[in-house]
């Protein structure tokens, strides 16, 4: 009995505590869904997530499949080799709806199997740069116009002075070309924007009356930052996270173009780079265009989500 009532009580407090949040989330969600752009972005993301999770459901083959020989470890005839990259084929002589690349792998299958790495790179790099940029921006803004702020801003200035891409090339060259290092490199160079924007937001939040009153009431800096400022910048941070994810995917593609892609991890950037390395840019549109479109689609999806979220979280729009 008592346990029951206790748990009932807990449930109540839980409901009490979470009720408004769920309510707020629901309202936010309702508002979000009024943005066609945001819904489209989400749909693309869901599709790519499904690709990433269940590639075998969506792709007719795995990347190991080769035109003509399939999964067999046999040899292609010279004529067969000569016919690669093969334009889209639907059953004759094999099934590859978007054609094949120069080694005979199906473009569509590669596309599906690479979705995971795009999501991984985007989210990991976005998250990392948020993890660096947001706290630094908070600190910088909160201690605006002190030496702390000044130091952080000077660091940002210095980093802006180093052109992103070549800098990234150097970083990746020092640490070796693999996905982890590429992500780290992107994060190292992309936290700047987060830092600057969060700092601006924090500066303006700090001027608000309730922060001042909290300060007067003797709340500690930590408390003010965590209770009063952080919750207000977090939605914004999520917006930047989405944008950073998009930027990271594009950065990875640029690196791949410059020959710095992790060849062990199939990625869309690497696919385009391969077109270039095999010198088929202007001869095999079925090979060049799909990965480019996929990159565009996922980056756009992240941007769409980010900017729709911004609308939802923007208090001025209440």
């Amino acid at each position: 009995m008592s346990t029951q009532s206790e748990s009932g009580f807990e449930l109540d407090t839980l409901r009490e505590r979470w009720g408004p949040r769920i309510e707020r989330f629901k309202r936010g969600w309702d508002r979000y869904t009024t943005h066609k752009m945001g819904v489209a972005g989400l749909a693309i993301l869901v599709l790519f997530t499904l690709w990433a999770l269940f590639p075998d459901v969506f792709a007719p083959h795995t990347p190991e499949w080769k035109a003509y020989i399939g999964y067999e470890n046999t040899r292609m005839s010279p004529e067969e080799v000569n016919s690669l990259p093969h334009p889209p084929a639907f059953g004759d002589p094999f099934f590859a709806p978007l054609g094949t690349n120069a080694s005979g792998q199906g473009i569509y299958s590669m596309l599906v199997y690479a979705a995971g790495s795009a999501l991984y790179i985007g989210l990991a790099a976005g998250l990392l740069s948020s993890l660096v940029g947001v706290p630094l921006g908070l600190i910088s803004g909160f201690y605006g116009d002190t030496w702390i702020d000044e130091t952080i801003q000077r660091i940002v200035d210095v980093m802006y002075g180093l052109p992103f891409l070549p800098f990234l090339i150097v970083l990746v060259a020092i640490r070796g070309v693999n996905t982890t290092n590429i992500i780290l490199g992107i994060a190292v160079t992309s936290w700047l924007n987060n830092c600057i924007l969060i700092r601006g937001e924090t500066l303006s939040l700090k001027e608000r009356a309730y922060i001042e009153s909290a300060q007067v009431a003797g709340a500690s800096d930590t408390r003010i930052v965590f209770r009063h400022i952080l919750p207000n910048v977090l939605p914004l941070a999520f917006v930047f996270l989405a944008q950073d994810a998009a930027a990271a995917i594009l950065a990875q593609a640029s690196l791949a173009y410059l020959g710095l892609a992790d060849f062990t991890a199939n990625s869309w950037g690497l696919m385009i780079q391969n077109v270039q390395a095999h010198n088929y840019i202007y001869n095999a549109p079925w090979w060049l265009i799909p990965p480019g479109l996929a990159i565009t689609a996922i980056a756009a999806a992240f941007y769409f989500i980010g900017f729709s979220m911004e609308d939802v979280t923007n208090p001025q729009k209440e």
Binding site: R75, P78, N274, A277, N279, Y280
Partner: protein
């Protein structure tokens, strides 16, 4: 060729070929698919349509006979030559880029020339010569100098210029021209019957090419005014920049985008009309026939290739991308000049590292390299399968040529071919394993090894070992590297390889982004080796990093790379395999030293030092070639390098407008570009 040197080719795309320098490639030609040169197309008997098939064979391709009369050859025209990277400087003494050299090599002449087909040393600026005191520590060469040459600024060329050129480079120890000051002590006017007398610094078997042909002729009236050759900029001094005796005049030098060479009138340039050229079966005298060559620089190879395919450039540096060859062959007006590699691509073993110090293991690893997959499937027949560490283009010292074999043919050069199972691409795991378990070595004697017959060595030379150094067995796999591929692992003296070595054998390789096909081939190799039970790890590494690891630190198990611009006379193998060139020879400073002999061969895992030095000091050309061929075959059996392939150069050419290129010589686009430039002419 010693003087028109092969150099490193810049950055980026062709990084793999830094060391491989310019020279992919090789030889000959056959103006594939070209209508213009149809009347003399001795190589492809089946006709142009059969080109692909012809390319899949490894039969020797020979240089065509030329019967044209130079008077009937049309003169004039502009050849546009594309490059993927920019030249460095127009200063011939400091330039280190092949992309400058394609222009500058047309401006300067050397004492002697190497026949591009036979590699005989022929008169050029020097008319005749004689080696004197051959047995002295510092032999001398007396020679005569032509008196009918002029500088391209109109001044007369004199003996003083010859002496000045040598003095200037020797005095200043000009870095890029070290062969001059390394080989030549001095050049003076001769007091006797000869014009000049050259003193060598030491005995050099290849004294004719390495000393007489080492120094470019510099005009005294220009260079005596130059205080600091390092900062001298010819284009800033004169309108047409560098002054030389050669046929070319550098009229434009915009290093980021373009260069232009205009050719002097035929009367002003007598050298290509020399008797030996005129009488040569394969050469035509009286060139160059063109008015000028425009060089255009593109930012990336894709753009360059495309520029050729679309007719923006008539030809470009290097071989045409193999992916594009079928398309070029199908395109009216585009053709290919065949050529040989000036070097080779290889995978190297660090002979210092156990158990790679065992010839048997190295040979077994080579069995798993699927050469058919690489040469035929991936490269579509546009490379020759590799065997000896000497380009087939410089066949004079290749064992099968020297010892009466047919170039690139014969089972003696196939000792290490892929041990596959019938038609499938699966390796014959059982025979490779038993080869190791039995402790066999392909040591030069005939026999059946890992299921394949071997007729015995051509020169009669034997490998450094005749049985394996370690006791090899196969037992339960310990290395996770073999998971899902093989249940057993190679045990070395009873210890799993992965523990014996502290991990899988790692192979440093180019990032596959730069060369996706190679990436695939190496993955296949690694997979095959794992099937055998040998744990292998591929480590993509940037070129600079790799070359530091390899040449400065010798810190690797295996790596892959290529050499270009090797020597036609076989001397390159001294640098590559003699223990004097291994880092151990440098003693304390070893960390600072670049050691050509990266594998440590000669120090560990076998040696050919004696054979190499015997050849090096030999002054008789024919004997020298035999000795080099023997050394080369021993290196082949000991296998510090597994020579992977020689490029078949397919030099692209706008055959609608141009013809006359010499086919089937080494590296027509660069190393022999001088000869090509003096032969190419407009079609009728």
């Amino acid at each position: 060729m010693p003087h028109r040197r092969n150099r490193s080719d810049g950055a980026n795309e062709s990084r793999r070929k830094f060391l491989k320098a310019s020279g992919t490639g090789a030889v000959a030609l056959s103006l594939a698919g070209c209508s213009g040169g149809g009347d003399q197309d001795p190589t492809t008997t089946e006709g142009t349509g059969e080109e692909t098939e012809a390319d899949t064979t490894t039969e020797e391709e020979t240089v065509e006979k030329r019967t044209e009369d130079s008077d009937s050859i049309p003169r004039g025209g502009t050849l546009t030559y594309g490059m993927a990277q920019n030249p460095d400087t127009s200063n011939y003494l400091t330039s280190g880029s092949v992309y400058s050299a394609v222009a500058l090599n047309l401006i300067y002449d050397f004492g002697v020339e190497i026949d591009p087909v036979t590699y005989e040393i022929q008169p050029w600026v020097f008319t005749d010569w004689e080696l004197q005191n051959a047995d002295a520590d510092q032999p001398e060469i007396a020679f005569n100098v032509r008196d009918d040459l002029t500088w391209n600024d109109g001044e007369d060329f004199t003996i003083e210029d010859v002496i000045f050129s040598h003095d200037y480079i020797i005095e200043n120890e000009v870095g890029e021209w070290s062969s001059v000051w390394n080989n030549i002590e001095s050049v003076e006017e001769d007091s006797g019957d000869w014009d000049c007398r050259m003193t060598l610094t030491q005995q050099i078997g290849t004294w004719d090419s390495s000393a007489l042909g080492a120094c470019p002729m510099l005009p005294q009236h220009i260079w005596s005014e130059v205080d600091d050759f390092q900062s001298y900029d010819p284009m800033a001094e004169r309108e047409n920049g560098p002054v030389g005796t050669g046929p070319g005049v550098l009229t434009t030098f915009r290093p980021d985008t373009s260069m232009q060479i205009q050719f002097r009138d035929a009367e002003e340039y007598p050298l290509t009309d020399l008797d030996w050229v005129d009488e040569h079966d394969n050469l035509v005298a009286g060139g160059p026939f063109l008015d000028q060559v425009n060089f255009q620089i593109y930012g990336e190879t894709a753009a360059l290739t495309q520029a050729f395919m679309r007719g923006e450039v008539d030809t470009h540096y290097g071989s045409l991308d193999t992916d594009k060859i079928p398309e070029a062959q199908d395109t009216e007006g585009l053709g290919l000049v065949n050529g040989y590699d000036s070097g080779f691509s290889y995978a190297a073993f660090n002979c210092r590292r156990e158990p790679l110090d065992d010839v048997a293991l190295r040979q077994a690893i080579a069995f798993a390299w699927d050469d058919y997959y690489w040469t035929q499937q991936l490269q579509q027949g546009y490379v020759f399968d590799g065997d000896f560490a000497q380009s087939p283009g410089y066949s004079g010292v290749r064992p099968e040529s020297v010892f009466d074999g047919e170039l690139l043919e014969g089972a003696a050069a196939e000792a290490f071919k892929f041990r596959g199972q019938g038609d499938s691409a699966d390796p014959d795991v059982e025979s490779i394993r038993s080869f190791l378990e039995n402790g066999e070595v392909i040591d030069g004697s005939s026999g059946t090894f890992a299921g394949q017959d071997y007729p015995g060595s051509l020169s009669g030379v034997s490998a450094s070992q005749s049985e394996s150094k370690y006791n090899y067995t196969f037992d339960t796999a310990q290395s996770s590297n073999l998971d899902g591929v093989s249940d057993v692992e190679l045990y070395v003296d009873g210890e799993p390889l992965s523990e014996f070595k502290g991990g899988p054998i790692s192979i440093l390789m180019d990032p596959p982004g730069e060369n996706p096909k190679q990436g695939q081939a190496f993955e296949r190799w690694a997979e095959n080796l794992r099937k055998v039970g040998i744990p292998i790890k591929l480590e993509p590494t940037g070129f600079n990093t790799m070359s530091d690891m390899v040449y400065y630190n010798a810190d690797y198990d295996m790596y892959e790379m290529g050499w270009g611009g090797t020597n036609p006379f076989g001397t390159s193998i001294r640098s590559f395999f003699h223990s004097n060139f291994a880092k151990e020879a440098f003693g304390e400073n070893e960390g600072e030293q670049f050691a050509y002999n990266s594998t440590g061969y000669g120090v560990a895992g076998g040696s050919s030092d004696e054979l190499i030095m015997d050849a090096y000091g030999e002054m008789d050309p024919e004997t020298r070639n035999e000795k080099y061929a023997t050394a080369i075959e021993k290196v082949y059996l000991d296998m510090p390098y597994m020579v992977r392939d020689y490029d078949k150069q397919r030099w692209p050419m706008n055959t609608a407008d141009f013809t006359g290129a010499i086919a089937n010589i080494v590296d027509p686009a660069y190393a022999n570009w001088f000869w090509e430039a003096t032969h190419i002419h407009q079609t009728e």
